[in-house]
């Protein structure tokens, strides 16, 4: 179980020591990421055998100290992030040492975000991710990226301030910040003020989770930052921000008003993202808008109380984590304008085929994994049996139809006509290929993967067990 702490400590250690490693510097990062994957796998086995458990920092039991909750969900996210970081590790960079350090910090913070069971600790790791990602965004050598990064920074800082305000309110109302402890005192937060705190946190964390009104940075940043950074932000970071929201609604804010708020923001994200994507003229922007909508779907899934919602959101999140980075990477190096893609399907058939595969999975075409995720989402939404959630299913339907219209337009353009352009060197070939193969493997192994996700969702949704594990079973 202590491997969970090492998954944070070791990348941080590597990041701190990076300036001293000299010629080894370029190997330290990938090595640390690989080590994290290995730790994650070992944790996976432990959790599978012994069930979820709690790690106490410094031996100070909850709620006084910080605790880590190690369950399947957390291990899954931490390992997936490590794998994504490893796959997306930049091969060339203007300033490899600094960029590696930021990536390692992002990796450590992401793992912390996955494991932590303390609201303030979650905020610290969230902030750490935010700071690391500013640097990565601005590292793109485009002047536009610097401008976009600055706007991202301002908005994100503002969002963090609001999230912090919300956390402060929670502390003022409930007197504790441990999630399990908060779950016991959820009544104290069941007031307008408590709900306001939730709204503040939702909007604050929503900046990274690309939720509707606070996501205006997304298209700009994703279309100017390097493809690998974009892939990391869209694929990994956004999910982790939503993971905080999931913890909140599962453990603390299981009240209908909070769920409705989350659902509303999710639906607005879907509608606004898909329609904006429909009008987007360049590929990265289109993918960015699609990413907004996809995250809206995950938010909508998390707004369903109970195991069904967690399962659907988890499936959607992991699917998006594989597909969207790969799509950004495939599109990297192609002309940005969609109309200029004409004929590339013939010039670079394999790359175009990969794009088609990923786009189809994103749309939820069976038997690709995206289909199962979408089915779970619809089932969860309709299973609530309430008008707002039924409407949500209709919105998802509409959104996906719109998404289909614009993604198909890209596919159509790819295979229309011919181009004189020489096939560019495909920088993202390896990572995109790996992600594509991963997608196919998930499709073939749908049965075991589905079982694992079900276990993860079941563990995550078992709130009484969570509270008992954290507060009851540990030394006081």
């Amino acid at each position: 179980m202590n491997a969970s702490v090492l998954m944070i400590a070791l990348p941080l250690l590597a990041a701190f020591l990076l300036p001293l490693t000299g010629p080894l510097a370029r190997w330290v990062g990938p090595f640390a990421a690989a080590l994290n994957i290995a730790l994650g796998i070992s944790l996976w086995q432990t959790v599978a055998q012994e069930g979820p458990s709690v790690v106490v920092m410094g031996g100070f039991a909850a709620p006084l100290g910080i605790v880590f909750r190690v369950d399947t969900l957390a291990v899954l996210f931490a390992t997936a992030l490590a794998a994504l970081v490893l796959i997306l590790w930049p091969r060339t960079s203007a300033d490899p040492r600094r960029e590696s350090a930021l990536l390692l910090i992002l990796l450590a913070a992401g793992c912390g975000l996955a494991f932590s069971g303390d609201l303030f600790n979650l905020f610290v790791f969230y902030e750490l991710i935010a700071v690391a990602s500013y640097g990565l965004v601005a590292a793109s050598r485009e002047r536009l990226a610097a401008a976009a990064g600055l706007r991202y920074l301002v908005l994100s800082a503002l969002g963090s301030a609001f999230a912090l305000l919300g956390i402060g309110l929670v502390y003022a109302l409930a007197g504790t910040l441990n999630l399990a402890d908060l779950s016991r005192h959820a009544d104290a937060l069941n007031s307008p003020l408590g709900l306001a705190a939730f709204a503040l946190m939702l909007l604050g964390f929503g900046v990274k989770a690309e939720l509707f009104p606070v996501n205006a940075w997304v298209a700009e940043v994703y279309s100017t930052a390097t493809a690998r950074t974009t892939a990391l932000l869209a694929g990994g970071v956004s999910k982790l921000a939503l993971l905080i929201v999931l913890h909140l609604v599962l453990l603390v804010y299981a009240q209908p008003a909070a769920l409705s708020l989350l659902l509303t923001l999710g639906l607005l994200s879907i509608v606004s993202g898909q329609f904006a994507g429909y009008r987007a003229a360049d590929l990265p922007r289109m993918l960015a808008y699609s990413s907004i909508a996809q995250l809206g779907m995950i938010a909508a899934a998390f707004s369903v109380s109970g195991e069904a919602g967690v399962l659907a959101g988890l499936a959607l999140a992991l699917h998006h984590l594989i597909v969207k980075p790969a799509l950004f990477l495939v599109g990297d190096g192609w002309p940005k304008c969609v109309d200029s893609l004409a004929g590339l399907g013939r010039a670079e058939p394999w790359r175009a085929a990969l794009f088609v595969l990923l786009a189809l999975s994103l749309l939820g075409i069976p038997p690709l994994p995206g289909f199962w995720a979408k089915l779970l989402l619809l089932k969860a939404l309709l299973g609530m049996g309430e008008p707002a959630w039924n409407l949500a299913a209709a919105v998802v339907l509409l959104g996906t139809a719109i998404e289909g219209a614009y993604l198909l337009r890209v596919l159509q353009t790819l295979f229309r006509g011919t181009t004189n352009a020489k096939p560019a060197t495909f920088g993202g070939a390896l990572p995109a290929g790996v992600l594509g193969v991963a997608l196919l493997l998930v499709m073939l192994a749908a049965t075991p993967v589905g079982g694992a996700l079900q276990r993860a969702a079941q563990q995550a949704a078992d709130v009484p067990a969570y509270v008992a594990d954290t507060l009851g079973g540990s030394p006081q």
């Binding site: 941080l12 700071v131 601005a138 485009e142 007197g175 003020l193």
Partner: protein, 239 residues
Amino acid sequence: MLTSRPRWPALLFILGLALLLTALLRDLHFGNAPMQVGQAINGVAAHETGAANVVASVLLAYRGLDTLGELAILFAAATGAGLVLGIAFRNGNGEAQAKTNTEPPAGFILRKGADLMFPFLLILGAYVILHGHLTPGGGFQGGAILAAAFFVPQLARPSSPFNERTAHWVEALAGASFVLIGIAGLAGAGWFLAPLLGTGSVGELLSAGSIPLLQLAIGLKVGSELAGLMIALHGPKET
């Protein structure tokens, strides 16, 4: 010189924020917050950690991981700043933009003042860091003072040497030692960042387990990091 138009949107923003906070505070009852965790810690902190300064015990024992995270935030911010500053933007006019140094050279008083301040700042920083577990203060504050101690001479004499290499070494080793102390706790007591070395007697300089060590690590890291950052910002652009 940089000027700007009146920030009416910003004022509006502030007004909105004020409205918002009023709305929040209307419902919040001050003075009787349920301080469950706070009171529990007040009761047991000195006994459990051996630190006379409860704040330090919270920062470095109960919430040591948060502090490690904050240290990493500072590191990430400095790294990000270095990344941005160190890169000449492609989309410019190409040639490295030479810094136009328009300030007058520092005068005699400033130079002498800086020379005098240096040891005092150094000692003050060290004191604040090392007594963090006893009195208000600690690694972050002391680190900031240390950074100032090294930056002030630079301000007075831009040409005076600052050994960036050493600073890098100090920074890296200090940061690493924080994590290593944590891992040592893991290996020794079974918990990450578990207190080592025993609590000692409350109020002594050598007490409170590993808290002073952590303070030292933080102070050195913050100090070297910020000094490096400030000097980099002040000095000519890297190429």
